[in-house]
């Protein structure tokens, strides 16, 4: 039986990054696209339970078949793995996001939480993002990132991924021949420059934008930020367990007890 890849993204089913990935992954196995019908950037790890979800047939711009859905990227993965697509899925890939997902971006990112949703279901997941800073007049070249993703999916097809682990892949915006190599990295520290921007509506009432400058990162050696800065592909293995094991001792020293025991 062939290797079955479920492909989604957070920019919507008609995004060019998804098409590039669908084409390259076709060399690895059977690809089913099930992606949101609209943009879900910074939407986080969603499980839609308060409303029903729709899914319908559509076509990518090259004419190939796909499914669109009115849920979040993680909903698309959940629906796919719960049986909306067949045969059973062997790998979930999400992307290609046109901008990097680094540092603390990972829990906000629809691209990354789609891969997280796969890991929760016990299926290997890979999130792929391209560090293309500007909009390039909408003409982003996804070629190198799609090729890296193909190679990685090929490897996961053979070796799988450890239980509970998923991969956050970020590719520098360079031609394949200019990329310096591939680096296993740790999640770096994002520096957000968000600001609350107040505006007034035509009736004089205030409303607010979460605005401000673009976030940057601290490019300590070994981090995802550092890898991109060095022209390397960054592959960060992420886990579902967020426990801060290193802090248990300091908190244990609090000797907490319930109030009535005092």
């Amino acid at each position: 039986m062939s290797f079955h890849i479920l492909l989604t993204n957070d920019d919507g089913v008609h995004a060019p990054g998804l098409l590039a990935l669908a084409k390259s992954l076709a060399d690895v196995g059977q690809v089913t696209v099930l992606a949101p019908d609209r943009n879900w950037s910074a939407s986080g790890h969603v499980k839609t339970m308060h409303r029903p979800l729709r899914a319908w047939s559509t076509r990518l711009t090259d004419g190939s078949e796909a499914l669109a859905c009115d849920g979040a990227p993680s909903d698309c993965v959940a629906m796919g793995l719960l049986g909306l697509v067949s045969p059973q899925v062997d790998l979930v890939v999400s992307g290609i996001n046109p901008s990097a997902n680094l540092g603390h971006d990972v829990t906000y990112s629809g691209t990354v939480t789609a891969a997280m949703e796969a890991a929760i279901a016990g299926i290997p997941g890979i999130a792929v993002s391209l560090d293309s800073h500007a909009d390039h007049n909408g003409q982003v070249d996804y070629g190198a990132a799609a090729e890296i993703a193909r190679q990685l999916a090929d490897r996961v097809k053979v070796d799988g991924l450890p239980e509970g682990i998923f991969l956050n892949v970020n590719v520098p915006y360079l031609d394949l021949g200019e990329i310096a190599g591939i680096s296993l990295t740790r999640q770096g520290l994002r520096v957000y420059r968000d600001a609350l921007v107040e505006r007034r509506d035509p009736r004089g009432r205030p409303y607010y934008w979460i605005g401000g400058g673009a976030p940057s990162g601290i490019a300590e050696p070994g981090t995802d930020f550092w890898a991109l800065q060095e022209g390397l592909v960054s592959i960060t293995p992420l886990q579902l367990d967020l426990t801060a094991s290193g802090e248990m001792a300091s908190l244990d020293a609090w000797r907490l007890d319930i109030p009535s025991h005092d």
Copy 2:
């Protein structure tokens, strides 16, 4: 200057669990409530940037002042910390959620991601959930959980929290005198029983619910699930860094290189 606590939740500003927490935290410092105007359960870690956000004055059912917002819990925290409320916030508390947030629930949970948003901004964050299984005809008793939260906030007021760490607190549904103690725990393994449920609309077209049985957990000693099972309050310190450090060696053995280098 007084200690300023920003309080939010994911059930909406008029939820009784929030009122109970607001009252108990008033003993610890000045409390500002800034909470969603509706339920955001399982909405994940959201940063709303594609639309503006509204915030307006409202009152809790006891008549005290509060702010409602049409964003997610994490948006409420972001807006509060970016200057919508003053003075500067010293602690963010989220809850009391009427059901537990355990295992992999943490990245889906609006309650927990609100505390995560605080940690990203460098402010201590505490998420408080109560393991009240049934709906108790809407008459959930939040007394014990509110008292535990008060004690914990008092401690964080004195000692702070380590950088990048936030607390996920789950309280068993028992009277304060029946609670066996407080346990520092690690995140356990959630077992989801989601199923895709197909329905037909009046026009015969399919739509889907993510349904199925309630999730359970694997109550290994030392986990959040285990603590509740033993009648203990579970306090899990969580971190922003999701790097699977233990898996670096196995992935390093892949010796990945970019395709053109082969």
